[in-house]
Amino acid sequence: MSIDLKTIKHISKLSRISVDEKKAKKLAGDLNSIFDFIEKLNELKTDNVEPLTSVAETTLKLRPDEVKSKNIREQIIKNSPQDNEDYFVVPKVIE
């Protein structure tokens, strides 16, 4: 298989990472060599194998739906690059 520049541009859009031509070419090269390596999995027949989603063989525990962290607005906003008292500020989205 081969990942072309068009595919790289598509993945870059999906992952919200901008790439220029130079970076796209480098990524295409890297990803192709990595996927050549990954293709090895096709040697295995896995039709009747159950996928393993978690090694922790435990059912999730239930707990009462209670608020435990109260009044932590300041803590939540503390690390924001730009805020306006109680809100995160982002570039304008509505004209």
């Binding site: 990942i3 992952s15 919200r16 990954i38 932590i72 939540i76 690390n79 924001s80």
Partner: protein
């Protein structure tokens, strides 16, 4: 008392409990050595002033019943520490100051230890050489311009270089055991669910585990005893009966059955590694254990599986870094442009590469071919171990296919870098505990490690085997202090 930094954690704890040393003396000694060791670049953030204050406070009213009374400790910069900057080795978190503490570090401070700083690591723990860190390479105390391994490279370097008596790292595919092997130290990756992931910057949630990195097995057992707790704040934390690992530690492993998997004899493995493995087999036999040849037939599929599962989970976990709620933000013409530029400028090349791989294998039309396929093969890999553990109590393998390599040697070839983790990755995929102990040197004088893999929740058993082997091996790390002027 001279040579404080040469003492093991166990010795330091005893000396503080016997009032032969104060926390201030010990903390000052490690800070002084850290100050002289800037060239190793092991620290991202130093917290020396505050550490000395805490040590003085401890000495005024010492609680000597604690397990780590007044012991200074630096930790990997992947653990959130309240009010102390936590970067995960990334530009995107360069200014992030957590408002809460990770459960694992909280457990450590509760037992009396004192934070002295945050240690360098590969960006978001993605790397095997510490070269992907935004904060630069870490030097291996063994030799100049040698990588310390990764991703817990700063942690390994700091323990081997005696900048901290002990530390914690995280291990997603080998990030504790491989750097331990490269620096002549001991590193334990616990069973998945043993240590809480709460407050650890997430990389691949189904694989990540925190664990101790130490100068010897006993120290390692002591820290494991402190950090392994059931935590309702981590939904995958498991409520099982935990041992008092250091108290129950024994070198009596008579009659234990140790599996030797033939598939770990990989093509192109240096003779030195094979010889080391054979020596290891002899050591466990000398301790009265029995070795049994076993097969883990899907071993060679572990790395390709890992490089689908881990990036897939990473691409999802790292979606949160969008320049809005915390971290670095780049200027953009509109919201989308801001997201794209923030992530393009904020993440390094390896992290972007892995997000791209993960996004691709999860994208429409490719999910079944890659992600689902990998989850199925992961099941086969786990089945291999389940089958083997019907016959044996533990498994002995080399930790890495080579000794530490030079800085820059593998940076241009991602696949050759990934191959470093060939012996450690299967353990994460199966969720098992594994420990790397130093077992010898190669012809260049660089340390080599052996790995003991256990059954799930059987940390005590692999610690015991490691403890018994450690006595036979009698490893001495060759640290010349080359970086101290």
């Amino acid at each position: 008392m001279s040579d404080i930094t040469k003492q093991s954690l166990t010795e330091l704890v005893e000396n503080i409990k016997d009032k032969k040393l104060s926390s201030t003396e010990v903390t000052k000694a490690f800070i002084d050595r850290s100050e002289k060791s800037k060239e190793l670049n092991a620290y991202i953030t130093e917290d020396f002033t505050s550490a000395l204050d805490k040590a003085k406070k401890f000495d005024q009213k010492p609680n000597l019943d604690l397990k780590l009374p007044g012991i200074p400790m630096a930790v990997k910069d992947l653990f959130c520490t309240k009010d102390v900057k936590t970067t995960a080795g990334s530009k995107i978190l360069n200014n992030f100051v957590p408002t809460y503490e990770s459960t694992v570090t909280d457990n450590i401070w509760r037992e009396g230890a004192i934070l002295i700083g945050k240690l360098n690591c590969d960006e978001f723990a993605m790397g095997s050489s510490n070269e992907t860190s935004f904060f630069g390479n870490v030097q291996n105390p063994i030799d100049k311009d040698l990588v310390p391994g990764g991703s817990s490279g700063g942690s390994a370097s700091a323990v081997a270089g005696q900048l901290t008596p002990i530390t914690i790292g995280t291990d997603t595919g080998g990030s504790i055991r491989q750097p331990a092997s490269f620096t002549g130290t001991v590193g334990l990756k616990p069973t998945y669910g043993s240590c809480s992931r709460y407050g650890i910057v997430a990389f691949a949630s189904s694989l990540d585990q925190a664990g101790p990195m130490a100068q010897n097995v006993k120290d390692c057992a002591l820290l494991q005893e402190v950090i392994s707790t059931y935590d309702p704040k981590d939904s995958t934390s498991i409520d099982f009966k935990r041992n008092q690992y250091s108290k129950e530690l024994t070198n009596n492993i008579k009659g234990k059955k140790i599996g030797i998997p033939k598939e770990y004899r990989v093509d192109g493995m240096p003779k030195e590694i094979e010889d080391l493995w054979q020596k290891g087999i002899q050591y466990v036999k000398d301790c009265g254990a029995e070795t049994i040849d076993i097969s883990l037939p899907h071993t060679s599929y572990a790395l390709p599986t890992y490089y689908i599962v881990a990036p897939a989970e990473a691409s999802s976990n790292l979606a949160r870094y969008d320049g809005v709620k915390y971290g670095f933000r780049a200027k953009g013409e509109n919201l989308i442009d801001m997201y794209e530029k923030t992530r393009s400028e904020g993440f390094g090349a390896e992290v972007q590469r892995r997000i791209m791989i993960g996004t691709y294998v999860l994208s429409s039309g490719y999910y079944d071919a890659y992600y689902l396929k990998a989850q199925k093969v992961r099941k086969l890999i786990k089945n291999d171990f389940d089958e083997a553990y019907k016959k044996v109590d533990a498994i002995l393998t080399p930790s890495t296919p080579s000794s530490a390599f030079k800085i820059g040697e593998k940076t241009n070839d991602p696949v050759s870098m990934y191959l470093n983790d060939i012996f450690t990755v299967p353990v994460n995929l199966a969720g098992l505990p594994g420990i790397s102990i130093p077992a010898g040197h190669d012809s260049k004088g660089y340390p080599l490690g052996l790995q003991i893999i256990g059954k799930a929740f059987d940390e005590q058993n692999i610690l015991n085997i490691a403890f018994a082997m450690e006595e036979k091996i009698n490893f001495k790390n060759k640290i010349s202090n080359w970086w101290i002027k």
